[in-house]
């Protein structure tokens, strides 16, 4: 139930993010979720796209430094305390969240979040056992 996240190394240079995004746009690849972690001189763009392997190929051919990471996308109840409850369940099972970010659009009553766990297999199982919907690769394409 893992999905693929593409991470891109970006130096802080004018127009660089826009170049990378338009490269995806021209190839007809849609960004579903993204976040940027940055320091003063460089950043890492993390995203979930509808066609991850095509995106990875595209970046390789264009000399963009990118890497694929396994993440888990899960629906979290969109209500006060919804996320807290999920995180507590995970933490009780000794699963750590390295980072997380939200999807661009919402497609149900729930919020769709991307999680990077130290143990994604176990995390996905726990989430499902607790009645949460975990979205797979197909599910991402169907959004």
């Amino acid at each position: 139930m893992k999905i693929t996240q593409i991470s891109v190394f970006l130096e802080n240079r004018k127009g660089r993010l826009s170049q990378v995004c338009s490269m995806l746009g021209q190839a007809g690849i849609n960004i579903r979720a993204l976040t940027i972690a940055e320091t003063e001189s460089f950043g890492v763009l993390r995203m979930v796209v509808d066609k991850p392997s095509e995106a990875a190929d595209l970046f390789r051919k264009n000399g963009i430094t990118a890497n694929q990471t396994a993440v888990v996308a899960a629906e979290v109840p969109d209500k006060p305390g919804g996320l807290a409850e999920v995180l507590k369940t995970l933490s009780d099972s000794d699963v750590n969240v390295e980072y997380m970010y939200g999807f661009v659009e919402k497609h149900s009553e729930n919020a769709l979040l991307v999680f990077r766990f130290d143990n994604p297999e176990l995390a996905a199982r726990i989430l499902r056992e607790n009645g949460l919907k975990v979205i797979d690769e197909k599910g991402i394409q169907g959004l």
């Binding site: 991470s7 130096e11 890492v44 963009i64």
Partner: protein, 436 residues
């Protein structure tokens, strides 16, 4: 390991025989030099009036040193010893830093030089079966044409592609199954960073050996290239004043470069005092060219810093070995009062696997203090997407540099291909302190 020689008699000659040959050629050189106004005045001043005054190799020390400025002062024909109609080749430095320096070859000189290059090429294990792609710039620069003629003399299949056009270079390597390259290390690193975009893996190439030259680089850069491509990379040494490449070359054992001592007399001096240093001690390389009659040049101060290894080499060659060039007397940077050679910085960063194939040393001034920024491209295959790994890499580079050069640099990480690169000699230092 099988050892092949181009001219076994000369390459394995015993020391007394080498020295006897040197003495004979030195005397011819002195006679030739005395025909020229510039040298004649200098030689007479130290009491040398004919080759009769040179009775042993020790008498070489009586001769004055020559420096780059002497060549400039004599531009264009002051150091030409023969009639121009007997000159078959001219090479010249670019002159970007001032008046160019010019080198002349007679037909015999060209033959001598070409033979030294053939000897150098064969010492690395190359033979007639090899396909040689010469990626050095052709033209006034000695590097391109020098190796070209040497490789032809060996009988290799020579592809005179010259520098630049990376995609075509890689295509030619594949089309002609190139086995040997002659290239600057910075360009070979750059090519590696482009291979993926040409849908090519290093294992798709047939390269076995690479001759590196024309710019300073560290041992770790050589090792990195050998590792990235799965090749043997050989250091070479030469300078246009001494004909060009082929003054010294590594043999298959890659433990220092054999200086062809039948053609050159090698001295290592203390650059401050001019005093001759014993083998093993680092100092300035001083060379006398024994095989160029059109333009004699003796005791030339190269400004290159190196040391000599006089231990016998397993390859059987008796010619002493020169260490890699440790720096130049004129490329030392003074950063907040500390002496730093760019090669020290390169040695540190090229040993770090996550560092890619290009870097830049950038110096600026903030108030009265020098600021050293070391900009490195990351190695894309080792990018994990993990932010803390990148921060860790920055910290690691900074700490290793601080330990080596005692200065705290600012480290910047860049995308592969983002830093300025060169298809010929690399510019690794951008010093913007004077302008500020």
């Amino acid at each position: 390991m099988e050892i092949t020689y181009w001219n076994k008699n000369i390459e394995t000659m015993d020391r007394p025989a080498i020295e006897a040959l040197q003495l004979q050629r030195l005397r011819e050189l002195v006679d030739q030099s005395l025909k020229m106004d510039f040298y004649k005045n200098r030689l007479l001043r130290v009491g040398i009036t004919s080759s009769e005054d040179i009775q042993s190799l020790d008498d070489l020390r009586r001769l004055p040193f020559n420096v780059k400025d002497d060549l400039r002062q004599n531009f264009p024909t002051g150091l030409l010893a023969v009639d121009m109609r007997d000159v078959v080749r001219v090479h010249s430095s670019s002159g970007t830093t001032g008046i160019p320096t010019v080198i002349y070859f007679s037909r015999q000189d060209m033959d001598n030089w070409t033979d030294l290059l053939a000897r150098s090429i064969v010492a690395t294990g190359c033979c007639q079966d090899d396909v040689f792609q010469n990626m050095m710039t052709y033209g006034l620069f000695t590097g391109g044409l020098g190796l070209h003629y040497g490789a032809e003399r060996v009988g290799m299949t020579v592809i005179p592609v010259g520098g630049g056009n990376t995609q075509r270079q890689v295509q030619i390597m594949k089309d002609f199954k190139t086995t040997v390259l002659h290239v600057t290390p910075s360009y070979l690193l750059h090519i590696h960073s482009k291979l993926e975009s040409f849908e090519t893996r290093p294992e798709d190439l047939y390269i076995q050996r690479v001759f590196l030259g024309a710019e300073p680089y560290s041992e770790n850069t050589r090792l990195k290239l050998e590792d990235l491509y799965g090749i043997d990379a050989y250091n070479s040494y030469g300078l246009s004043e001494m004909n060009g490449p082929g003054v010294a070359f590594e043999c298959v054992y890659k433990q220092g470069m054999h200086v062809w001592e039948d053609a050159y007399i090698l001295e290592i001096i203390d650059p401050e005092t001019g005093e001759i240093l014993p083998d093993g001690e680092q100092g300035e390389v001083v060379l006398t060219n024994l095989v160029r009659s059109a333009m004699p040049l003796f005791r030339y101060r190269t400004r290159d810093l190196a040391y000599v290894n006089s231990e016998p080499c397993r390859c059987g060659r008796t010619h002493r070995r020169l260490s890699r060039i440790q720096g130049r007397t004129d490329d030392m940077l003074i950063i907040n009062g500390v002496n730093v050679f760019p090669s020290q910085i390169e040695e540190v960063i090229m040993a770090i696997p996550e560092v890619g194939t290009n870097y830049l040393i950038h110096l600026t001034k903030i108030g009265s203090l020098d600021k050293l920024a070391v900009k490195v491209e990351i190695y894309s295959k080792l990018f994990t997407g993990d932010m803390s790994a990148l921060d860790g890499l920055k910290a690691k580079i900074k700490e290793k540099l601080r330990a080596s050069i005692t200065i705290n640099p600012v480290i910047e990480l860049h995308e592969p291909g983002a830093l300025p690169h060169s298809e010929g000699k690399a510019k690794r230092v951008l010093d913007e302190r004077e302008q500020l």
